[in-house]
């Protein structure tokens, strides 16, 4: 390497050795990756503030529109007064003498 212009220092620095990564690290890293369904449960998305504001405004507007439609679309219920209409039954003339005076009918 062109910048290693101090071989003596380089040799000395090489005496500081560091162990390799422990074997347990592999399982730890591979476990830490999430599957696609894990992302559905734990994932999150970053939304820019202007987009979030527009979405919030659209949701509010939509909710307001729905509410106003439901108010105008149905006629208000009229006050009901309870009344009973009795059917008129035509009067039937009673037979004058259907039974004899001494009979027990």
């Amino acid at each position: 390497m062109e910048h290693q212009n101090d071989p003596e220092l380089h040799e000395l620095l090489r005496e500081w050795t560091v162990p390799d990564a422990p074997a347990s690290l592999e399982a730890r890293v591979l476990r830490n990756r999430r599957s696609w369904w894990g992302v559905l449960i734990h994932g999150y998305i970053r939304v820019p503030v202007p987009v979030a504001c527009c979405l919030a405004a659209l949701i509010i507007l939509g909710a307001w529109r729905l509410a106003s439609l439901s108010v105008n679309g149905c006629a208000p219920a009229r006050a009901l007064t309870p009344s009973i209409a009795w059917p008129k039954i035509p009067a039937t003339p009673r037979a004058a003498t259907s039974c004899a005076p001494d009979s027990k009918c």
């Binding site: 390497m1 062109e2 910048h3 290693q4 101090d6 003596e8 220092l9 380089h10 000395l12 620095l13 090489r14 005496e15 500081w16 050795t17 560091v18 390799d20 990564a21 422990p22 690290l25 592999e26 730890r28 890293v29 591979l30 830490n32 990756r33």
Partner: protein
């Protein structure tokens, strides 16, 4: 990136990333955390790596360096010191040689330290170090020069030629 690509990258580069993190931080547990975060970042954003811009190892070391700096900032151990900041004296008397070297490297200011570790231990080129550290080539050269100068001064008792290369002999 497929699962097998990821596993392959992990097996090829985990040791390099771990050693870099360990040399920078000095803690096994923290170095493991950095490796984990580094590879999870690769898994989440495989498109971040552009083969035309350099080797995968250099890319991963760049992520690891950012994670180390982030960790230092969180722990309030990192201040943007100028790269020519004075190095606190390190007493290496009575230390093992490797211990003394570790102490001397860790005493370097962060910008000198990462340039030195990437150059001396990971054997990256100046251009790669410049890309990773987001600095220009001249700044990297200057940091490396100062780092070596400081190390020569600190590790003088362990060197046969004591400090004459950079004019630091007393």
């Amino acid at each position: 990136m497929t699962d097998s690509d990821f596993r392959e990258s992990f097996r090829c580069h985990k040791d390099a990333v771990y050693r870099f993190a360990y040399r920078m931080i000095g803690s096994e547990a923290a170095a493991e955390d950095v490796v984990q975060d580094c590879f999870v970042a690769l898994w989440k954003n495989p498109g971040g790596y552009d083969p035309e811009r350099g080797a995968m190892r250099a890319y991963l070391l760049g992520i690891a360096r950012k994670l180390v700096l982030k960790r230092w900032k969180r722990e309030m151990r990192y201040r943007m010191e100028p790269s020519d900041a004075p190095v606190a004296p390190v007493d290496i008397v009575g230390m093992e040689r490797s211990e003394a070297i570790a102490a001397a490297v860790r005493a370097l200011p962060p910008l000198q330290r990462d340039a030195l570790v990437l150059a001396e231990y990971d054997e990256l080129s100046l251009e790669e170090i410049a890309r990773i550290t987001e600095a220009d080539l001249a700044a990297v050269k200057s940091r490396l020069h100062r780092a070596r100068q400081n190390l020569r001064r600190t590790l003088a008792p362990l060197l046969e030629t004591k400090g004459d290369l950079y004019g630091t002999s007393k």
